[in-house]
Amino acid sequence: MSVDMAVDVGELNLRGPVVAASGTFGYGTEVPLLERRALGAIVSKGIFLRPRIGNPPPRIVETPSGMLNAIGLQGPGVEALIRDYCPQWAAWDFPVLVNINGESAVEYGELAARLDGVPGVAGFEINVSCPNVEQGGMYFGNDPRAAAEVTAAVRRRTRLPIWVKLTPMVSDIAVIARACESAGADGLSAVNTFVGMSIDLHTYRPRLAFRTGGLSGPAIRPMAVHLAHQAARAVRIPVIGVGGIVSADDALEFLVAGCSAVQVGTATFADPRAIARVHDGIAAHLEARGLSSLAELPRYLPRD
């Protein structure tokens, strides 16, 4: 394909616009990395400073064109991450961003400080939007002041690129987006999952042990496109669109709506080659329209 798919997302130069979404690609080491030529970047599973066992099962439920998950940020903690995964990442020819989590702005900052400079860590995605933990998580993403505080705390401890992962559970995402931009974010990932619930009609209780979970998959795409578009209109930093992308056309909707790059999550579960498929489909679309680079794709982005 002769189309130039490279894209600069702030300081990060990606060879393609399709990024693996946090929590849906593990640490990139679980599955043999087929077709890595198409991987723009990986965002690793959300990590805390300390190990976390996560939520009890059942943790997932399928829903119409979507799924609810309540994993609860199970993870080995930062020291195991540095020991077990970062050395592998350091050998790869595409960037890995670490999705960082904390119960306070201080914890986010410490996590960034600990990972800053570790070979293999190319940047951070600040998760202020996880619906599946009792402390922290979505709370920070709901409130512009808290989101900015967390962003600033991380900014002070690293010069690596920082993306902030926004929650959709707000009345006005533009306010949060601007708060994060002002606090020093280099990019915004829009969006995380929507809170949902499903009831088991045998037990008359929620199907998920955590009661609620985060909705992902094609069901949320129209909402995610809208929110990513609202965020992109509100800020000058790049927005990385995420939510329900299965096909190249889905990804193109986000890109036209003003995103610089996209993340593919849930689709990978059904199709481990989803990222390559989306990448190649975007290139084919551009080629069919006679465009020689992704940068030439028309955008629909009236400014506020």
Partner: protein, 253 residues
């Protein structure tokens, strides 16, 4: 782990309630071992794949056995010879055969028989004597294809074989115990033989270890992934109280 497009080679109805479908997939059939599973994509169909234990693997054909209970299995039942589906497999850790065993009991309840055909094959290959113990609600349910091995049937209603649970029907003095079936049956297995190997079921998002959706609670604390560290566990290692047992489609098992 492979992702491949497989052609439906055959469909069978061994009993009124169960169906078997075979996929031409030599690349999976060759390496697969008892207790491993494949993850089947149905399109058009539900968002997620559906995991199924490999039931048999002969002549390059991977067979699975199932009961049509929901969206995925209904679509499976619609497949005809020559149709194509995408398979991921073989997935998960298989049963392990201890070199000290001289015999093995294959204890299954309902569709828990799924991995036992391969287990019997692998056991015979390892030179072990095989005893099948299958529990069913009534005699109309599937009896395993036990090919001359010793075979014991237990039925809930006493309509055939032992009246009561499969676990109680297992004769004394067996070497290894491999079990698969409803979680409450596996908990009983754990109580009688802590070292038994059991294949558990959970909801699965990916089947490949990336989503952490298939959490199996461990006695030692924390969670394992059924699709990666499992689905086969040492019976005593699982925290049976915390493993959801309301897998409704298995209730009929």
């Amino acid at each position: 782990m492979l992702e491949l497009t497989a052609i439906v080679a055959e469909v069978r109805h061994p009993t009124a309630h169960y169906r078997v479908i075979g996929f031409h997939a030599p690349a999976i059939a060759e390496p697969v071992r008892a207790g491993q599973f494949v993850n089947v994509l149905l399109r058009p169909g539900p968002l997620l794949r559906r995991p199924f234990s490999v039931y048999s693997a002969v002549g390059g054909v991977v067979e699975i056995i199932y009961r049509p209970v929901g969206e995925g299995t209904a679509l499976l039942a619609d497949l005809k010879e020559g149709d194509r589906v995408s398979l991921l497999g073989p997935l998960g850790r298989p049963f392990e055969f201890d070199p000290d065993w001289d015999s093995v009991a294959l204890v299954s309840g309902g569709l828990g028989v799924a991995p036992m055909l391969l287990a019997a094959r692998d056991a015979r290959d390892a030179g072990l004597r095989v005893t099948w113990v299958h529990g069913a609600r009534t005699v109309t349910e599937l009896s395993p294809e036990s090919a001359g091995d010793r075979s014991v049937i237990a039925t809930d209603d006493g309509s055939a074989g032992h009246h009561g649970s499969a676990v109680a029907a297992v004769p004394d003095g067996v070497g290894g115990v491999l079990a698969c079936g409803p979680n409450r049956m596996l908990a009983a297995v754990a109580a009688r033989w802590p070292d038994a190997q059991v294949a558990v079921e959970t909801y699965m998002g990916c089947g490949t270890g990336v989503c952490l959706g298939c959490a199996v609670p461990l006695r030692a604390g924390g969670y394992d992934r059924a699709c990666k560290e499992g689905p086969v566990y040492r019976a005593a290692d699982v925290d049976w109280e915390a493993l959801p047992s309301h897998l409704h489609y298995a209730a009929g098992a």
